[in-house]
């Protein structure tokens, strides 16, 4: 299909920066509402057959992710330290292809619960953190969660968990077939009186919306789905946006600065094209859907005389309150083969410990799931006491198919000093100032993660594991869930965007992605990001129709 194309000199209604979980949806909604839209994507557009089952390339060589050589970042734990590059990897990882990180996600699609939106008022202030209420409620977002499930495609079993928040419709597809890890997780958790249930996954369990059912290849996280069964933007909303005839997805187009006029309005975006030539695309409004790292980087790199601290940053909150979703896990070996390299990554989850319980003595809550890793990544490490080379190591390698992991996925508290900003020295391959990451876990996050390790061990013990390896809880030095860095709020002095994702400072500049999240949720943020995107698309289109942009 030949989609619409625009010249940079044309003034389109909207530029959407980023083509991932949020960008694809916002673009579709705006284009369907009659607007002309250009989606800017840093990375290439890859066809289905170009995605490979190559664990070395995709998990160890930055196959489709931000490469530390070309897109460097620096890291420090303490704001008083000088940040340094981390050997061989970037702290914040995301995909740089059309579809963004939705192309390579594991596809765990959890809704937030009602409590996530009101923890600030329910739990009160927590020292060293800024735990506040969202400016919207679960009830306001519920129709958009449902829209994600039906428009994008999520499989699951509604009402199976006693802890499920209210929902207006069931999932459009039945849950994925259970794997041995799911059976053992369910067995152990039920023995303990807990309530595991079929995992909601953004993967087709049956043919849906002209895409096939999952072929259970086993390589979801880190990989793109070449059969298009995974509900990634590149296979779902982006083709639908293009089908309107009003949306162009411009790949290999790296936006490095937002253009501003003297009246304080965005005029378009400066970007490097495929040949690294500088270009400028004109637009009436800009919606930035980079991710929790790229969005604040773009705003901070767009400082002008009127916005010397970075664009839309009168609050000083741009880049701050970075959250990852910390958690604890345990690996376990069983008597018989599980073959966890087959099938979708997760088939059972549990939300019994979702809410924070003051009786534990610390803030934190989360969910658990049963999962596994690819063989190449698994083989790099051995449990304590297992030889790391020689015949004993070989014996361990031969046990690969007997192992599984119970993973806890939890809260990370918003801490003002945990942030993304601009490194004073480092630049990327395009000469754009690189991002600097400052992060130090809140003590409660560490306590909660250790608590999760204990629960994971109990579940695997109850399931009859022959060997259990409690996970280490180390200091976070990066992540893939990039949240909170342009938080939503009603007060312009403490937040970056309002409840409609409009920046408080620039009337025709909107932000929508993980950066909008006020709190971290419990470990699986993508469905919330997509629900926010559907909602943002709705409201921004209304504003455009009413000439209120």
């Amino acid at each position: 299909m030949n989609s619409k194309t625009y010249k940079p000199s044309e003034t389109v209604d909207f530029i959407v920066v980023g083509s991932g979980a949020a960008g694809g949806i916002v673009a579709r909604e705006l284009a369907r509402a009659g607007n002309s839209v250009v989606v800017m994507e840093q990375g290439p557009r890859m066809a289905a057959e170009e995605f490979e089952h190559d664990e070395l390339k995709y998990r160890h060589l930055s196959g489709i992710t931000n490469n530390p050589v070309t897109n460097p970042q620096t890291f420090r734990r303490d704001p008083a330290q000088k940040a340094e590059a981390v050997a061989g990897r970037n702290p914040l990882t995301y995909a740089r292809v059309v579809g963004g990180s939705s192309a390579h996600f594991n596809a765990n699609f959890w809704r937030l619960h009602e409590i996530d939106f009101i923890e600030g008022s329910r739990l009160g202030p927590i020292e060293g953190a800024s735990l506040v209420d969202w400016p919207i409620t679960y009830a306001e977002l519920e129709p958009y969660y449902t829209k994600v499930e039906w428009e994008v495609g999520v499989s699951g079993l509604a009402g199976a968990s006693p802890f499920d928040p209210p929902r207006s419709k069931p999932y459009p597809m039945p849950p994925m077939p259970v794997k041995s890890s799911g059976v053992l997780f369910e067995r152990g958790a039920r023995k303990l009186g807990l309530h595991p249930f079929p995992a909601p996954m953004a993967i087709n369990s049956v043919e849906y919306k002209n895409r096939p059912a999952c072929i259970q290849c086993g390589l979801c996280g880190g990989f793109a789905c070449e059969v298009q069964a995974k509900s990634s933007s590149v296979w779902t909303v982006i083709p639908e946006a293009e089908a309107t005839g009003r949306c162009e997805v411009r790949a290999n187009s790296y936006v490095f600065r937002i253009g501003m006029n003297r009246a304080g309005r965005a005029t378009g975006v400066h970007y490097y094209d495929r040949e690294r030539r500088e270009q400028f695309q004109n637009a009436r409004a800009v919606v930035v859907c980079g991710n929790g790292a790229e969005t604040p980087k773009l705003l901070l790199n767009s400082a002008t005389s009127g916005f010397s601290q970075g664009l839309a940053n009168s609050s000083g909150a741009v880049g701050r309150y970075l959250m990852f979703n910390k958690g604890g896990n345990a690996a376990a070996r069983f008597e018989h083969r599980l073959n966890e390299y087959k099938g979708a990554n997760v088939t059972r989850i549990m939300h019994d410990f979702y809410d924070s319980d003051p009786k534990r003595g610390f803030y934190g809550g989360g969910g658990f799931d049963a999962r596994s890793g690819g063989p190449l990544t698994w083989g790099q490490n051995v449990p304590k006491g297992t030889p790391s080379w020689g015949q004993g190591f070989k014996d361990y390698l031969e046990s690969y198919t007997y192992w599984m992991t119970v993973s806890g996925h939890g809260t990370s508290l918003p801490v003002e000093t945990n942030r993304v900003d601009i490194d004073p020295d480092a630049k990327d391959d395009w000469g754009v100032p690189a991002m600097r990451v400052t992060y130090n876990d809140h003590p409660d996050d560490v306590k909660h993660a250790k608590w999760q390790v204990e629960r994971a061990v109990e579940i695997m013990d109850a399931a009859g594991a022959k060997q259990i390896v409690p996970g280490d809880v180390g200091a976070a030095s990066g992540g893939v869930h990039l949240l909170g860095t342009c938080r939503m709020g009603n007060d312009p002095s403490t937040s970056v965007v309002d409840k409609y994702h409009r920046t408080h400072d620039v009337r025709n500049l909107f932000l929508c992605d993980g950066s909008s999240m006020v709190t971290s949720g419990r470990g699986q943020p993508t469905q919330t990001i997509e629900a926010l995107a559907f909602r943002a698309g709705d409201f921004i289109a209304k504003f455009a129709r009413a000439n209120e942009i």
Partner: protein
């Protein structure tokens, strides 16, 4: 004996069984291209992009012999293939000549120091690779915390398990060791514990429902 069926081909066949006719029709050009890209030589003089390297291109023969001997102690052969049979040395040579090329100078320096240390301990007459297995293990136990050994270990494991096109995991012997079968498509039951799963039983007070 019939040659092993490439995993990609298995995938294409299975997709044909699983997906709707409409989906196949819609995607047939891409699927055909995927088969072309999967590296099955058409016999028209084209170079197979997935053909694994079979010659050393970066390391010298003497360097490779030492690395190969270390790798074989990390994952020894025997009743089942180890690092040598999997061709791990070709992976390491390929890696250090391409995607891990920046590590080559430090790697070479580490190898030199490894050899010097070995010679100081056992005399300079024969290299490490010519020693008995017992002596090799004895020496490695004294150096197995060094950055050089850890680098060889990491490369050995990567070479054992990464796709054969990178040089190691010859005939998927690494995957066979781990118990991983070479296929692109699976269907339940996946493992021992889901064979007899009776189905999800609802909890009291809940009413699971589907569309």
């Amino acid at each position: 004996m019939e040659s092993p069926i490439p995993s990609r081909r298995k995938f294409l066949t299975a997709v044909g069984n699983l997906a709707s006719t409409g989906w196949i029709a819609m995607n047939w050009p891409q699927i055909a291209l995927a088969a072309q890209h999967s590296g099955h030589n058409s016999g028209m003089g084209m170079t197979d992009p997935d053909a694994p390297p079979t010659k050393l291109a970066t390391l010298s023969a003497a360097e490779a012999a030492e690395i190969d001997a270390i790798a074989e102690q990390i994952v020894p052969g025997g009743a089942t293939p180890g690092a040598r049979a999997a061709g791990v040395i070709y992976f390491i040579d390929n890696a250090l000549g391409s995607f891990f090329g920046s590590q080559l100078p430090a790697f070479r320096q580490g190898l030199t120091e490894f050899g010097q240390g070995y010679a100081a301990r056992y005399g300079g007459g024969k290299p490490f690779s010519a020693a008995s297995g017992a002596q090799q293990i004895e020496w490695l136990q004294t150096v197995d915390k060094t950055p050089f050994f850890l680098a060889v270990r990491r490369l050995t494991v990567l070479g054992l398990i990464a796709l054969p096109k990178y040089g190691g995991n010859r005939d998927y012997s690494g995957w066979t060791l781990l118990g991983v079968e070479d296929s692109h498509v699976w269907a339940p039951p996946f493992g021992h514990y889901d064979i007899d799963y009776a189905g999800f039983e609802p909890y009291p007070g809940t009413k699971p429902y589907m569309a």
